[in-house]
Each structure stands twice: as C-alpha cells, then as structure tokens.
Amino acid sequence: MFSNTFPLWPARASSISGPVDALFIFLLMLCGLMCIAIFTAIIVFAVRYRRRPGHEAIPIEGSNAVEFTWTLIPAGVFIIIFVWGAYLYFQERTPPKDSMDVYTVAKQWMWKFQHTEGQREINELHIPIGRDVRVIMTSQDVIHSFYVPAFRIKQDVLPGRYTIAWFRATAAGTYHLFCAEYCGTNHSGMVGDVVVMEPAQYQSWLSGGQAMGSLAQTGQGVFDSLGCSTCHRMDTQGRGPNLMGVYGKPVLLEDGRTVIADENYIRESILNPAVKVVAGFKPIMPTFQGIVSEDQVNALVAYIKSLNPQPVGPAETPTFKGPAASKADTRQR
C-alpha cells in the first residue's frame, strides 16, 4: 500500500487527513457498489436478452414510480455526501484560535516562509507536531497553490491579498509541498518539503542559527523607518488611529460598515488605505504599494498583531530567537 515505488495511498500526516480519507473510502465503497450494480445490470441484460433467432423484445413503457424512486434515492444520498463534505471543508477553512502563524510569500518559482520567531526558509517549512499552524500566504506575481498531499490541504495563493491554510501535523517526517496552480515555466519545479518535527526537536531547530529579531521586531523596525509611527502613536494624539489591540477587533468605517481587523484588513490598510477608511479619520494615509515588499508587509502585519494589551498567543509576542540554517536540521524520510 505504502510502497515507495508504487504507492496507492498518500501518507496521512495531519489531523484532517484521517477524516478526509474516511469520506473518500465511504465514497469509494458507495460508488463501487453503484458501478457494480449498473455494470452487472448491463452485462446481464446484454447476455440474457442478446439478439438471437426466436427471441423478441418485449415492449415496456416506463414507469413514474420507478422514475421517482431513482430520482429521490440518489438525491437523498447526494445530500448526505454534501453535508459530510461540507462539514470537512468547514473544518479545513476554520483555523483554531491560538494557532501558530507562518507567513508565506509565493513567487515564480519558489516558496518563502517567515516564521514569527524570525526564521526564514525557502522551499522548506519546518513545523512541530501537534501544533495548529496557520499559513498566511500571498503571492508576489501570479496565482500559485499551496498543496501538501499528506495533509490533504490545498489553498490557492493570490497576488494582492492573503489566503490562509491551516493544519495540525500528526506524524513526524518530510512531506511534499507542491504548487498546484499552473504558474508558468517552472510550475512543476515549484516544490518543496514540509518537515514535521517532534516539539523538542523543533525547539532546538528554532534556536539554531544566528540571532536575529522576531518577525514582529523586524516589523517594528519597518514601522519606524517608514514613518508609520509619526501618524500612528501609542496614544490618541496621532493623526491616525492608535493601533494597539486593533487586530481581531471590529472596526467601524467611515461609510458605516463594520469590518473585523484581520490580516487581510491590515494588509489592505497599508497597501490601499483609501478603500476602507476608519470612522472619524481623514483619508490622509499614503499608500505604501510599491514601497514595501511583500516580506515587509508580512513583518508589519506581524508587528501590528503583536500590539496587543494581552498577547493572543506565544507566537505573537516578540521573542529573541535566531533563525536556523535550514540545512542544519536532521531530515527524516
């Protein structure tokens, strides 16, 4: 089943892969039965009623009762499958509250990861077992798609906005990361490894390498150097709103709408400030489109998220841990 040269089933390495496989197996059995039923009927009819001397067709008109039966029964079964599939999807699309965040920038043709602790990796993503991980992704150019078959998750990565995938790895090992959306010449080369590690190993991986600030600290640096702090102050005197604690809270806009200040909102506020103007403020914030790189936007977002009176989770608090040279870790297959 899991042979390396002729596998028939993908590795199962996330909390959702078991449930997805369960529905898949259910569908295999259901559809297998349907196939057997239909094919048997066709073969039996074709043999039993084959054209031969002395055999004549017997006219049959059809029957409403039969038609309704084989309309309603499949419809009922389909609705069950729909609910089951939608239930899984709901889980796949709803990240748990205190997850650890990894920022991802996809570009032709590589994956760049930024850990909140400050580590950066290319085409390789190290994560611990048992931790809910949110991958917050954007693309620098065309649409890509983040796909880890062993986790049964896939999410397109779009330019100009964040999309989010989440998973909880359950088995240590190295798994394929594929780009699943055609993105030009080297689409099939836009692959990498997801390395799932035991928590202790992961901790030592985190502390390896030379020291460098956390992502939020990098963000703070960008925040100051771009002059964001001239308008956004930690009091109410600034020309722009105080950003302390804004993340995750509802924001009342000038046009009367209320939006939740999630990653996409913060991102948009930086790159397209005129689209959603906070109530009570003038649209004086300049756009930083073309001035900040995607990596810097991620750092800014991480910084603004870290500005929380009560930190949401350990991942968000600035810590002093260095990045690890990704080659230094032990690879497991």
């Binding site: 040269t5 002729f6 993908p10 959702i16 569908l27 259901l30 349907m34 196939c35 239909i38 094919f39 009927a41 066709i42 009819f45 074709a46 009623y49 084959r50 054209r51 004549e56 067709a57 017997i58 006219p59 049959i60 008109e61 059809g62 039969v66 038609e67 084989w70 309309t71 419809a75 389909f78 499958i81 729909f82 089951w84 599939g85 939608a86 899984l88 999807y89 709901f90 796949e92 709803t94 150019d141 065309v142 649409i143 796909y147 062993a150 049964r152 998750i153 896939k154 779009l158 330019p159 100009g160 999309t163 594929f178 780009c179 699943a180 959306e181 055609y182 030009g184 689409h187 099939s188």
Partner: protein, 543 residues
C-alpha cells in the same frame, strides 16, 4: 460490387448532385456543411491528439527530458484549447446535429442555411488563427487562461489564441441559434415536442447553453486581450483588479461548456440504445426533462472549480450543493438507458458497443464527480490528476465514445456505404481498453497528490505514469482505425440500404445517402418516438 457502385452513382443524392470545390465551399445544404465540419474537426482531433501523445511521452519519466518546460506547457495548453473548442464542442452538434436535426424533424434544411454556412466559416477562421498560433510558436496559458499569468506574465501568442477561440465561439452561438429556431419552427406536421427523438432534445438543450453561455466566454477572453494590450486593471490586483473575477467569468461559460460537450453525446446514446435493443426508451419524458434540467442547473455550479481559489466558505457550500443537484438528472439518464435494455433484443453491433462503452465510462466519470463535488475531498484532489481523469472519463470516455458510436450508426446514411463490421468492433474494443489504461491510473495519481500540468514529477509517481502512457499509445491506434476504414468504405464499402438497422427515426425512412431536399414530400408523423414495438424485429444488416 461493380453493379452496386453503378447503382449508387446513378441515384441522385446530396453527394453526387454537384461536383467541384465551389459546390462544397458555397453549399447551403446542411448535410454538406456537416461534412465540412467533419473534415475540420477530424483534422483538429488529430492535432490535439498529437499534442496529447507528446505530453504522455514526456511523462514517461519523472525528469523533464523529452521537451523543454515551456514546450511542455504549450503542449497541454494547446491540447486543451484544440480539443475543447475545435473538436469536442462542435463534434456532435455541428457534424451529426447538422446532418440529422432537419431530417429527424422532417425538414428540408435548417432554418437559416446561409447562417449555417457562415458558422462553418467562423469555425474555419478560428481554426486558421489557432493554426497560426501553433505555427508561430504557440501559447502557454493553460486552456483556462488564468489571470494574471495570462495577462501580465507570458509573452507567447495569447491574443491570437484568445481571438481564435473568440471567433470559434461565434460559430457555436450561431449554430445554437439556428438549431433552436429550426426545432421550434420547422417540425413536420405531427412531429410534436413529445415525439421528438431524444437526440433532438439533447441538441436543443445544448443550443440553449451555447447561445446563453458563449457570449460570456467571448467577453472574458476579450477582457484578457484588452488587459494585455492596454494594461487595464480589470484582473490585475496591482491596479485594483481582481484575478478571481476572471475565474468566475471563465467558468460561468466553461462549466456549462462541459454540458455542451456531453449532452449531445447523451442524445446519440439514446438513439443507439433504443435501436439496438429494439425498445422504446424507458421514461421518455424524464429523459427529455433531464437534459433540460442539466442545461439549466449547469449554469449554477461554475464556482465548484474554485473551491480552493479563495471564494467564501458559504459560497463554496452553495455551489457544492447545487453540483449534487445537477448529478441527479445525470443519474436518471444512466438508469433509463439501462432499463431500456431490459427485455430488449440486444445486438452487439459496433454502435451498440460504443454505447455500452459510453454508459460504463460516463457512469465512472459521473460517480467520480461525486468525489470532486464533496468539498472536503475536492480540496485534496482539485488541480491534481484526479480531476484530469474525472473529466476525461466524461469528455473522452463519454463524448468521444458517443461521437464515434454516432458516426458508425449514421455512417451508412451519411456516406451511403457500410463500414467493415469486424474492424468496427475491434476498434471499439481497442479504444475501450486503451482509454481505461490511460486514464484509470490517473485517478490513483491524483489521489496520491500528483498535481496537473507538471512537466517533471516525483519518482514515486512513475509506474502509474508509464501505465497511462502505454494506454495512450493503444488509444491512438484505436482512433486511427475508424478513420482508415471509414475512408476505405467510401470507395470499397458495401452500398448501404435505406435502413440498415431498422431504425425508427425519420432519417431511416429516406434514401442513403439522402437527396438534397431530404424528403420527396413533407412527411406526416403519426407515430411516437422509438416505436420499435411496431417495427419488424429482424434487421437487414448486423445482428
């Protein structure tokens, strides 16, 4: 032999009425136009098939070695564009539909014969643009033209390719319009809606989609071209555009287009199954309703191509549910074909072998549709070989089987000659085996996680890819055979009688090949469709 040949040439029919190239290029006879289409799409089928073979050869090994990455990307792009827009969409409607719809409803021609000719010219012009695109270096957007890749990141022949499809689209719109008007206005006395052959119903439903859907495709391709030329910000997020908007527009047409490609095939199978079982269709009303239901519901499911594209959670749920609704009428059709065989007198003639193949492969394609419509599973298998296998089971296993079945069924009528039955059955079997060997392994590959459009892949996928490539070579042989013996039969085939299968439709009540006006006098229809119980059971040709 010699006497039949003389007899054939003596009788005047649509083929020997006039000779010379202009008598074809300026014809308004729907039957001759059908043959123009036949030649055109056969040509494109083999071009698209050639690209497919190159793709399969490249995938024989995990490394990208036979072609360059860019060349490979062009191959799958143009394979898709050629097969979808220049073969599958016109295949049954423009060839068999053109030939048969007027005859089946007892008319002399389509409602607008000259528009019909124009439709063919549009397809031909689109085809020339496509050939130009291919010869001048090709295009590598993927047949889906996803933005912003297609608009800002490629410098291949995107605009000519888009234009080719744009022009061919108008051919499709005009054909659809022509069919709708013809079916409404030109039915012979007594040919009520409830007596229409299901082939006509299927093409009617298809025409509705063509007329309503194709303009949206034209618009989206035009926007791609405009964005490329004038650097507009419709899809480009840097200029405030939305790349997902393109996907919505594209799939708003291209999902229904899937039904443009399969509904006419369903119509063909209904004709074949009844004739070779000597039975009325089981549940006529439900079969007719089902095609209309598919055409209508087919417009409401486009975003099921976008479950991981970044649409909202609840939108995805609605589109998933609607996708299950559209599966219901498809299931009804399969059940009714099967029930039609019950207590029939079933022949194993070539067209029927194709119909068996169609039902089997369409069933598998449809059932795997239940997998991809299930949101939680689609997340894993979308954009992998699972989806490739799924839609090839429908498009190739379904539509191409039906198309070939129909070509064999009506070849005696079209050409006035019989094809060699032995070779017919052999080719049908080779195609069935080759098809399954090509595409079944792809389901496994997709479930394992091999993404589509990969030029090189991880070594553990190789065994399945080798199987698939082996199947593709068998399939290629299977497709060449009919072309060879059809050509052979035009000269050496036995002369076809008026009604070789003892079929019930109006097309079997006129000579083979038909005269230009189809009927000597307008027929009066007094019987229900598929009245096989009122026809003799023995059949002149075939068993």
């Amino acid at each position: 032999m010699a006497t039949t040949a003389v007899a054939l040439s003596e009788r005047e029919n649509y083929l020997n009425k006039e000779y010379g190239i202009t008598s074809w290029l300026f014809t308004t006879d729907h039957k001759r136009i059908a043959l123009l289409y036949l030649i055109t799409i056969t040509f494109f089928f083999f071009i698209g098939g050639f690209f497919a073979l190159l793709i399969r050869l490249e995938l024989l090994t995990p490394e990208g070695d036979l072609l360059l990455a860019d060349t490979y990307n062009k191959m799958f792009t143009m394979h898709g564009q050629v097969m979808v827009f220049f073969f599958l969409i016109p295949a049954v409607p423009a060839v068999l539909g053109n030939f048969l719809i007027p005859i089946m409803i007892g008319a002399k021609d389509l409602a607008f014969p000259r528009v019909n000719l124009l439709s063919w010219y549009l397809l031909a012009i689109g085809g020339c643009l496509m050939i130009y695109t291919i010869l001048s270096g090709g295009v590598d957007t993927g047949w889906t033209f996803y933005t912003p890749l297609s608009t800002h990141f490629l410098d291949t022949h995107v605009i000519t390719a888009a234009l080719a499809i744009f022009v061919a689209g108008f051919s499709s719109i005009l054909t659809g319009l022509n069919f709708i008007v013809t079916i409404h206005r030109m039915r012979a006395p007594g040919m009520t809606w409830s007596r229409l052959p299901l082939f006509v119903w299927a093409n009617y439903a298809t025409s509705i989609i063509q007329v309503l859907g194709t303009p949206v495709l034209a618009i989206s391709l035009m926007l791609v071209a405009l964005e490329r030329i004038f650097n507009l910000g419709i899809f480009n997020p840097q200029l405030g555009g939305d790349p997902l908007l393109f996907q919505h527009l594209f799939w708003f047409y291209s999902h229904p287009a899937v039904y443009i490609m399969i509904l006419p095939g369903m119509g063909v199978v209904s004709e074949i199954v009844t004739c070779f079982s000597r039975k009325r269709i089981f549940g006529y009303k439900f079969m007719a309703l089902a095609v209309i239901a598919i055409a209508v519901l087919g417009f409401l499911v486009w975003a099921h191509h976008m479950f991981v594209a970044g649409i909202s959670l609840y939108a995805a749920m609605v589109f998933s549910l609607l996708s299950y609704f559209v599966a219901v009428p498809s299931a009804i059709k399969v059940f009714n074909w099967t029930a039609t065989m019950f207590k029939g007198s079933i022949s194993y003639s070539t067209p029927m072998l194709y119909a068996f193949g169609f039902i089997g492969l369409f069933t598998m394609g449809g059932l795997t549709g239940l997998f991809v419509a299930a949101l939680g599973i689609d997340v894993h298998v979308t954009d992998t070989y699972f989806v490739i296998a799924h839609f090839h089971y429908i498009m190739v296993g379904g539509m191409v089987m039906a198309y070939l079945g129909g070509m064999h069924f009506w070849w005696p009528k079209i050409s006035g000659r019989m094809y060699p039955e032995f070779w017919g059955r052999l080719a049908a079997m080779i195609i069935f085996i080759g098809f399954n060997l090509t595409f079944f392994p792809q389901f496994v590959l997709g479930w394992l996680g091999m993404p589509r459009r990969y030029w090189q892949y991880s070594p553990e996928f190789q065994v399945l890819n080798v199987l698939s490539t082996a199947g593709a070579t068998i399939l290629a042989v299977g497709y060449l055979l009919p072309m060879l013996y059809f050509l052979w039969s035009m000269r050496y085939g036995k002369a076809a009688p008026e009604n070789p299968w003892n079929g019930a439709g109006l097309e079997w009540k006129i000579s083979s090949p038909p005269v230009t006006d189809n009927f000597d006098e307008t027929p009066l229809v007094t019987w229900e469709a598929y009245n096989y119980d009122e026809l003799p059971q023995e059949v002149p040709v075939g068993r």
